[in-house]
């Protein structure tokens, strides 16, 4: 499958996401924020980083990028979209995912190997995992605290829209230890930790992130 990775000004983990796509056995296609063209890809990843420096609210400017118009359109039509870290923030700002992400409760950037539990393996991006599987994935963020109003929180918990939850330590003050969520359809997933940094023995926190890049099945959500 062809998986596009959008580079925004200030994207940092775009090359890393492309590498993870290739290691997962798919073709990585570089997409540019300024081009309203998804180049015929089957799925899109919005990578981590500090798009526009995060000087405004994280992701608040990137959601207006020409490429994002196409991403939103495609996502609504069922294309699988994964937002990692800053990409998760952009998806929330684009209203493709519920909730929002705010500054870590301890006010510091945090980089650590984080234990997670997969809470929903029925999404486009998590089908390679077992329900309840525990995985260790790199986490690095300054504004990763997941928040939502009480009603929304109850709904996403009730509908099984929580994709992954932090175990052992809540690294950023996220409500209900939420590390990632999906939309109702299960094609759009946002994840604060970085599975693309857990795809090689040598360079990250192991191989536990690979499932995010091998889950996509042709046409499953179209």
């Amino acid at each position: 499958m062809k998986i596009g990775v959008v580079t925004f000004p200030g994207s940092l983990d775009d090359v890393d996401a492309q590498r993870a796509v290739r290691i997962g056995g798919n073709e990585a296609v570089a997409l540019w924020h300024g081009d309203a063209d998804l180049k015929g890809v089957d799925a899109v990843i919005l990578p981590g980083g500090f798009s526009y420096g995060d000087y405004l609210r994280c992701g608040a400017i990137s959601r207006f990028a020409p490429a994002m118009g196409k991403v939103v359109e495609a996502a609504r039509a069922g294309m699988p979209v994964l937002g990692i870290c800053n990409g998760f923030q952009i998806l929330c700002e684009s209203h493709l995912l519920p909730g929002a992400l705010i500054r870590n409760d301890h006010r510091k950037f945090v980089c650590r190997d984080q234990l997670l539990r997969i809470e929903n393996n029925r999404t486009a991006w998590t089908s390679a995992y077992d329900q309840g599987q525990e995985i260790r994935v790199v986490l690095k963020n300054g504004e990763g605290g997941f928040v939502a109003d009480t009603e929304t929180l109850a709904r996403i918990e009730g509908e099984g829209q929580v994709v992954a939850r932090y175990l052992e330590v809540n690294p950023n003050g996220s409500l209900n230890d939420i590390a990632g969520v999906t939309n109702e359809r299960g094609n759009v997933v946002g994840l604060m930790p970085h599975p693309e940094h857990a795809v090689e023995e040598l360079t990250g926190s192991g191989l536990d992130g690979l499932g995010f890049f091998t889950s996509l099945v042709e046409g499953a959500f179209a």
């Binding site: 200030g10 940092l12 500090f50 420096g53 995060d54 950037f109």
Partner: protein
């Protein structure tokens, strides 16, 4: 003049013509940090008084920070070293923005360590952030893609109020800037000592990688080529930063110079990195220089003097953030995230298309000329007309007097070997717990967890490993390794030996990971050069470093000097931070530093002597500093490094012995892995555990590989001592004590969170 109708000249504009006609005007040379004789020399060079703009340029460029006027006579000996590494030529050396060395397979690496000490004291977050920004631009300017950063830091005592002011801000600044650039922070140091109270050290290192053919140099050549300024707009920040901040001692009144610290914009720097690399790929850059200390004064004069002609700059074409800035202020501004490129006229359209793509503002502000002079005009009137070399390179050179301090003999006579030592097993156990929890030996995760060590996906080793290692090529697995070290306590006891020990430790740290040490960059942090004691420390450290580099066969590729690190009469510990870069052909074969499995044999390589002076034990247990530092044996260091390279694939782990001695190395290897160890020590257990003799490493091997290890040790003439076996959940010293790893780990990890929250 043509432009004057549209741009009214302010009546105060001090042009070259005005200066010639008004030779006796009083000028604020003293306020700008110039000495009387320096001002006189400027008048001699120009044959008239300088204009205000010229005075601004000379004052910043002749400051200690830019001109190295106190250190030059000592630094020049590094140029006497062979300009080659053990595997190839040096492609760029001292004097360029950063050194560049060949690492094979057509790749080269640029790396450099620099200080940003005084700004970080005044404004910790921005001072540290812009320190990272500055060194990263130095690396980009060589044509390299930055691939990693590292930050050697020094603070006052952990419990001091001012440490609580500066440390969180400095760490957040290093992280805030580096994380936003997408550069993995792969190591560094955090050391606490009372002499750094009021003088924290923020050194920043960056490593970049390039193909040989991509090397770019800072020179402006070719008449008619255009001078392009691109990146952030020029504002009023950092004006006089170098001359006022970096070149003067803080007085006891503390910081009052806040406006001189620059403010960083890491997002703009990230755009500059990607934009500049794309400009290089497009082949539209004929010469390039970053704007750092001394801003446009530095970039224009250095580019012009390195070229073959002159330069004409229209200063009114510089995009400004503050339209009220005067020519003097524009020339002195240290606004961050700016670069200057020399571009052939035929390439300018392609150049500007790329800067536009990245939303980076670019302006043609001048051209290369054949006049041999740097001429700067302001709305058509000439405000600067100077020989560029006199600004950039012909600054004053001081032969500062230096003398061995009167107190040096008494200090060296006061050895720590005579201090009361723990004798029983229980006392040794208590000492271990006390030392692993001490500020200098404790777990530094509170700091390093604020840095992204994973971005770019090539980090093979990072803190708490001995060295940082990153992969350079995904296909061939070629990688580089870097370590920075300096024990300022040793340097105080003997600056010549102290600098050599710093080099030896960084060299050893690179070797323990399985890499071959190739080259050095240094950041020489000292007190006031006007103090003969300090100047002696500096001279001795330079001499020691040069002699040791010669013996190890590795060059100094560049670096930085930071003087005036002192408050009142109190100078910092002499702190010659040494960075060593090494290459490893296959990063998959690197040797990790923590234990890897149970039932492996633990072997100590090297010779342990009764060397306790300057040790962490002497500091922690007795608050003592005196005696002679550990013996320097560079031949032994070289043999050990060669042995460690041959042990790649045989040793399952290798850990350098340095601060805290064998006890700390064992504890770290066990705590990080969660695998315990049982060792027995012959002779005095205290000396065995806490002496800080150099030239040692701890390795583990499978029992079946012991014979091969012995044979390799014999071949490389490195003594070995079998200590015991890995496994279990305690660290045990036979006949002395046992400590559960959980207890050890609790002590090791609690210190910084308890102190800093």
């Amino acid at each position: 003049m043509a432009d004057t109708a549209s741009a009214p000249i302010r009546s105060t504009l001090d042009t070259v013509a005005v200066a010639a006609g008004d030779p006796d005007r009083q000028q604020p040379w003293s306020e700008l940090g110039l000495k009387a004789d320096e001002y006189e020399r400027i008048r001699e060079i120009l044959g008239r008084r300088p204009t205000g703009a010229e005075l601004a340029m000379y004052s910043v460029m002749w400051s200690e920070h830019c001109s190295y006027k106190s250190s030059k006579v000592h630094l020049k000996q590094f140029g006497e070293l062979a300009q080659e590494t053990p595997i190839g030529p040096m492609l760029a050396g001292i004097g360029e923005n950063a050194g560049v060395i060949d690492i094979g397979q057509g790749y080269a690496v640029s790396f450099k360590v620099e200080s940003h000490n005084h700004p970080s004291y005044v404004e910790p977050y921005q001072g540290a952030a812009t320190g990272v920004g500055g060194i990263v631009r130095d690396i980009i300017a060589m044509g390299a893609r930055p691939i990693a950063v590292m930050d050697p830091l020094r603070f006052g005592p952990l419990d001091a109020d001012d440490t609580h002011r500066v440390l969180p801000g400095i760490v957040a600044g290093v992280g805030g800037y580096g994380n936003c650039l997408g550069l993995p922070n792969i190591g560094g140091e955090a050391v606490f000592d009372e002499t750094y109270l009021g003088n924290p050290l923020v050194n920043a290192l960056c490593v970049g990688v390039l193909r040989h053919e991509d090397l770019h140099l800072a020179k402006a050549s070719g008449e008619g080529n255009l001078v392009v300024l691109y990146g952030a707009r020029t504002g009023g920040d950092g004006i006089g930063g170098v001359s006022v901040l970096a070149s003067e001692t803080f007085d006891a009144d503390g910081p009052a110079k806040r406006p001189s610290v620059q403010v960083g914009d890491p997002f703009m720097e990230k755009l500059l990195i990607e934009c500049t690399l794309e400009l290089f790929r497009a082949g539209v850059v004929a010469g390039i220089q970053d704007l750092g200390g001394a801003g446009l004064s530095c970039a224009t004069s250095e580019l012009a003097s390195a070229g073959d002609g002159g330069m004409l700059v229209h200063l009114d074409k510089v995009p400004l953030r503050d339209s009220t800035l005067s020519p003097e202020e524009i020339l002195m501004s240290e606004s961050q995230e700016r670069m200057m490129a020399i571009v052939e006229p035929d390439d300018i359209a392609a150049f500007l298309a790329i800067t536009t793509k990245w939303d980076v503002e670019a302006s043609v502000i001048g051209e290369v000329t054949e006049t041999g002079r740097l001429v700067i005009d302001w709305h058509g009137e000439t405000v600067v007309d100077v020989p560029p070399r006199t600004v950039a390179h012909d600054g004053p050179v001081y032969e500062r007097p230096f003398a061995r301090p009167e107190w040096q003999d008494a200090l060296q006579a006061d050895g720590a070997e005579k201090l009361a030592r723990p004798t029983t097993g229980d006392e040794l156990r208590a000492t271990l717990l006390q030392l692993v929890a001490s500020p200098n030996l404790c777990d530094k995760s509170w700091i390093t967890d604020q840095y992204d060590r994973y971005v770019q996906g090539n980090t093979v080793l990072a803190q708490p490993a001995d060295s940082g290692m990153v992969r350079v090529d995904e296909e061939t697995h070629l990688g580089v390794s870097v370590a920075t070290d300096c024990n300022g306590r040793f340097a105080k006891l003997d600056p010549y030996a102290g600098a050599q020990l710093a080099l030896a430790e960084a060299y050893r740290n690179v070797a323990t990971g399985g890499a071959v040490p190739l080259a050095v960059s240094d950041c020489l942090n000292f007190g006031s050069p006007e103090d003969t004691d300090v100047m002696w420390q500096f001279a001795e450290a330079c001499r020691g470093l040069k002699d040791a580099c010669a013996e190890l066969g590795i060059p100094v590729t560049g670096g930085n000097v930071s003087l005036y690190n002192q408050t009142g009469e109190t100078a910092i510990l002499p702190t010659p931070v040494v960075a060593v870069l090494g290459v490893i052909e296959d990063v998959r074969r690197r040797t990790p530093s923590a234990f890897q499995g149970a039932d492996e044999r633990i072997v100590l390589l090297g010779t342990t002597r009764e060397e306790l002076s300057g040790s962490e034990w002497a500091k922690v247990a007795h608050d003592h500093l005196g005696g002679l530092p550990p013996k320097v044996d560079l031949r032994a260091e070289r043999n050990l490094a060669r042995l460690l390279k041959d042990l790649v694939g045989i040793a399952t782990s290798a850990h350098d012995l340095s601060d805290g001695g064998l006890a700390q190395a064992l504890a770290e290897a066990a705590m990080v892995s969660g695998i315990g160890a049982r060792v027995s020590l012959e002779g005095d257990a205290f000396v065995g555990l806490y002496a800080e003799s150099a030239g040692r490493a701890l390795v583990t091997v499978d029992a079946g590989d012991l014979d091969e290890l012995r044979a390799l040790c014999a071949r490389h003439d490195v003594p070995l001592t079998e200590l015991g076996t890995t496994g279990g959940e305690v660290l045990a010293v036979e006949g002395q004590f046992e400590v559960p790893l959980a207890e050890l780990r609790a002590a090791w990890t609690a210190t910084l969170p308890n102190a800093l929250g």
